[in-house]
């Protein structure tokens, strides 16, 4: 009986733990940011006065981007712009001087440290 109770309690615990351990959320950490989630990776795109910033998280923690690269694609008014973003320490990439027009379609492709694994996200900023 005790074993059964323990099993049930453990089962219930695991059930409650499931969602709590789930990855990512769409709430931006930075003003004006928009978030896209791909599996356990979160990409937050933040238009700032001097350009565009990109923050990457994995499992809700900052992903150190050293050795990684990111390419930003912006399509607006029939014009496509591709920018290789600059690593800016921690989990941040920047694209200085770049503007994202209203209604633009934006995509990011992150290449991991192994130089071959790629994870992408597509944004539709309002």
């Amino acid at each position: 009986m005790k074993q059964l109770l323990m099993t049930l309690l453990l089962g219930a615990g695991a059930l409650m733990f499931g969602p709590a351990q789930a990855h990512g959320n769409y709430e931006p950490d930075h003003p004006g940011g928009i978030v896209q989630i791909v599996g356990d990776l979160s990409f937050e795109l933040v238009p700032v006065p001097g350009g565009v910033e990109l923050y990457v998280e994995e499992d809700n923690e900052d992903l150190p981007i050293e050795g990684m690269s990111a390419k930003l694609t912006v399509i607006a008014g029939g014009v496509k712009t591709e920018t290789v973003m600059t690593p800016a320490g921690g989990n941040k990439f920047v694209a200085k001087g770049l503007k994202i027009p209203a209604g633009a379609k934006v995509a990011v492709l992150l290449t991991r440290k192994d130089k071959v694994s790629k994870v992408g996200a597509n944004f539709a900023p309002k």
Partner: protein
Amino acid sequence: MFMQYQREDDMKIINKLVAVTALAAGLLVTTVANAHGIWFAQRATQLALIYGVGADDLDSVKRLPLVKSIAGYDAMGGAIPTRLRVAGPLLLVDSDSQPSMVAAVLFNGIWSKTPEGEWVKKGRDEVPKAITSEKNFKYAVHVIGALNGPLPLLPEQVLQIVPVDGKLPLEMGKPLTLRVLHRGKPVEGARVLTDWVNDPDAVPVKTGADGRVTINVRNQGLNVIAAIWDGPTDEPTKSDKIEHLATLSFVLPHAPE
């Protein structure tokens, strides 16, 4: 007495009917089950080209030589340099920038079914007593993210499934009207399976004369919709028909966690 004979006769007829129906259903299931398709799915956060049916995610690397084209497209429909990369047992999509759509074509050769019921990878010229001989082409289109306009018709996708309204629902269970096109023209009688991965043995829904069919989107996750259509042969000595199997896949995102 008469009543008893009558009942026995009725039972014989019913039994025969049941047997014929079961056989027909079996043939239908076998026909669909024998067909393998290609589609795109996320594997370890990256996009992979999958070959198989249902939960059978088969050896795609072995089939890499059969892949005739792989392509990536941006949000304007412009081509992005894209390749397939072998990563262990997977074929991963390797694009120069993030695509909004990817597509692939695989030619699976000519297959013949022998009178004994065995499928062999030979044409009718080599298996003259074959019950049927068919060329097999597999097509796949995957939409990444939201669809905000008509899906472009891709020349390599000889059979293609397109959403009629140029958009996809956000939630499972919602209706989605599709059109199945062969070289850009509507196809009547294409067999459409709503969920190629989770319900490959479902009774297919057939497209109407305008190539349209309306389904309910099954999954709040990966959806792989398949359409199968038998077209005329281009090599009568080798095959009786060309089986085209096209998939349209997309993901409905899950709720924030």
